[in-house]
Symmetry: C2
Subunit: 362 residues, 2 copies
């Protein structure tokens, strides 16, 4: 059992340390163990109580449980961790995976859609999954009812990747048990949450960012306005991936989400050929999954009470971009980042989409 | 009976004088009567037999027939002739119209589609026509079976414009007689061909250019690949108008033409709101139908045998742009245009889309 993995797991599983905070701690301190040691002081400087860190024993017990499941971890920035996913600012620091990890090397395309989709749309998703598999692509989806399940079923023989919202060993919805077990054997299942976690509403958007982030593009098949599938599409667009949608008649209420997406600029796709044509330009970017993602050198500077005060004054309850704080503060960006990290670990900062931050109301 | 109208009609109805040739003759000679006088000489210089010009009596008889029908002429560049249509290089020199010409002042939108459209698509087209009418727009279509008829029916109460391929007094298909007569009374019908003309296959693309040219945008509802509706869409795009299409499921073969259009850049529309939003930016361009279109001053030069010889040598059986002939010839553009006009009237030139010309094989 790698000491580094235990320490990373302790950080990741500690409440109050999200993916962005984790990444900044590793970038600043170079290792998980150094970050663990630094957290109490940083939080104190930020003016709050330190997060309760997960202890070594709990982390070791989770690792043993993952091994007992026949699963393993993928670590951000190391080994097989997918390069495309590592590009996200809030990439999951650790993934648990069970199945054939070589599938991560292939061109990955997401297919998502409504749980209560029409029979015709499910048949379409299944055929699209099959055709993409025949063309050498791997379908990524969320193992939900409806479109997700159909897309997995169509591509199971050639390989498909399911990303679950809860733990790897939880079958949700329950009727998915046989499908998920088949995918353990013949494909791949990925979870960000620890084993045993029952999925809750807040977990689904996290799961969706993984589906969007793993893939060169996301195809939406039948989605209601304001549905989770449209969130996945938005996340894909924000990550610079291709967003594709299958159109339908304006007379069909279930087509409205997809038609709206196309009006907003998504590519209309009718078949696997259209999908592969759309994602081809993005493939080379993710083509070397084995060269680990390099988060780059950050110019971190040690904490400075002056900078912290300035940053605190610039923050309010409305989210503002970190870049703006840096510009307005007149303080070197490394010192601003450190001040934000201190406030974050003190439980006084909220991080939002698009690199924005706000101060948490007292 | 205006002498000028008689002379224009003599030119327009003469075989071998198409809309582009007509426009150039008027631009060069200033009036139809001067052009009529010049044609024999021009043709002789071009090395061919002059077109057989329609005689005064035949023209007067057509005018009497149009008056008896309760119809009238609109003359390119004069009075109520629609400004948007006048923008086309091959705008019809004369239109015959029966009905409420004030409809031409309103925002015009084309709705076109398959003759054998599904019942659902016809219902959709009818509703779209109705809704556009309620919003103050006028629907233009081709009085064909299927989508065209449905779009007219939906907008008849608020005003709709039918463009027929044959003469104004011909009902095609025959079951359209009552619809067309209702449009004479409560809307407007337009024909480019003389009364009594039975529509033939070659007339339909001419009719389609009028539908595309009159309107700020064309909405395609259910169209087969390679159908006339897609020709109208292409003509609209070439004229710088908005192309819109109503999507459908990839599982529905009748949706393929529209889905393909959207993939090629047409705007996906689901209702009247989407349509009006798309065409709004184009409206101001056509907003003053009463200020006649000014074709601009051309620098015409009189015929010059040297220029004619050079132009003849540069022409071949494959269409080439007139601009290229001008550039390669080293001759002033006015002299090239005159040489082309002479060859044209001599029956030795073919004019093609996009301002291209070729020499007619002997």
């Amino acid at each position: 059992m790698s000491v580094d993995l235990v320490d990373r797991l302790r950080l990741v599983r500690s409440p109050g340390i999200g993916p962005v905070t984790y990444r900044q701690l590793i970038a600043r301190f170079g290792s998980a163990s150094a970050a663990l040691e630094a957290v109490p002081d940083l939080a104190a400087r930020g003016g709050g109580k330190a997060p309760r860190l997960v202890n070594r024993g709990d982390a070791e017990r989770e690792i043993a449980r993952i091994e007992a499941l026949g699963a393993r971890y993928l670590v951000l920035g190391q080994g097989l961790y997918p390069r495309a996913l590592a590009e996200l600012d809030d990439a999951p620091p650790l993934l648990t995976v069970k199945g054939d990890v070589r599938l991560l090397d292939k061109p990955l395309v997401a297919i998502v859609g409504a749980r209560n989709a029409s029979a015709a749309a499910c048949r379409f998703a299944r055929q699209l999954g099959y055709d993409l598999g025949q063309q050498g692509a791997v379908v990524v989806s969320g193992l939900a009812r409806g479109i997700d399940s159909a897309a997995h079923d169509g591509s199971l023989e050639t390989g498909t990747i399911g990303v679950v919202a809860g733990g790897l060993d939880i079958f949700y919805p329950p009727e998915n048990e046989s499908r998920q077990k088949a995918m353990f054997e013949r494909s791949l299942v990925i979870a960000e949450m620890p084993p045993g976690t029952e999925p809750r509403a807040r977990h689904f958007p996290y799961r969706n960012r993984i589906i969007a982030g793993l893939t060169a593009g996301t195809v939406v098949v039948e989605a209601a306005p304001k549905s989770g599938s449209l969130i996945t599409a938005r996340l894909a667009a924000e990550a610079g991936r291709e967003v594709m949608a299958v159109p339908g008649s304006p007379l069909d209420p279930r087509a409205q989400g997809c038609n709206q997406l196309i009006r907003q600029g998504a590519t209309l796709v009718q078949n696997a050929h259209d999908v592969l044509e759309a994602v081809r330009p993005l493939q080379p970017r993710f083509a070397s999954p084995h060269s680990p993602y390099d988060p780059g050198e950050s110019q971190w500077m040690d904490g400075d009470a002056g900078a912290l005060g300035i940053v605190e004054e610039l923050l309010g309850p409305s989210p503002v971009p970190v870049d703006e704080i840096i510009r307005l503060s007149g303080v070197p960006s490394g010192a601003v980042q450190m001040a934000l990290l201190e406030l974050d670990l003190a439980g006084r900062l909220d991080r939002h989409a698009g690199g924005k931050v706000s101060i948490r109301p007292a």
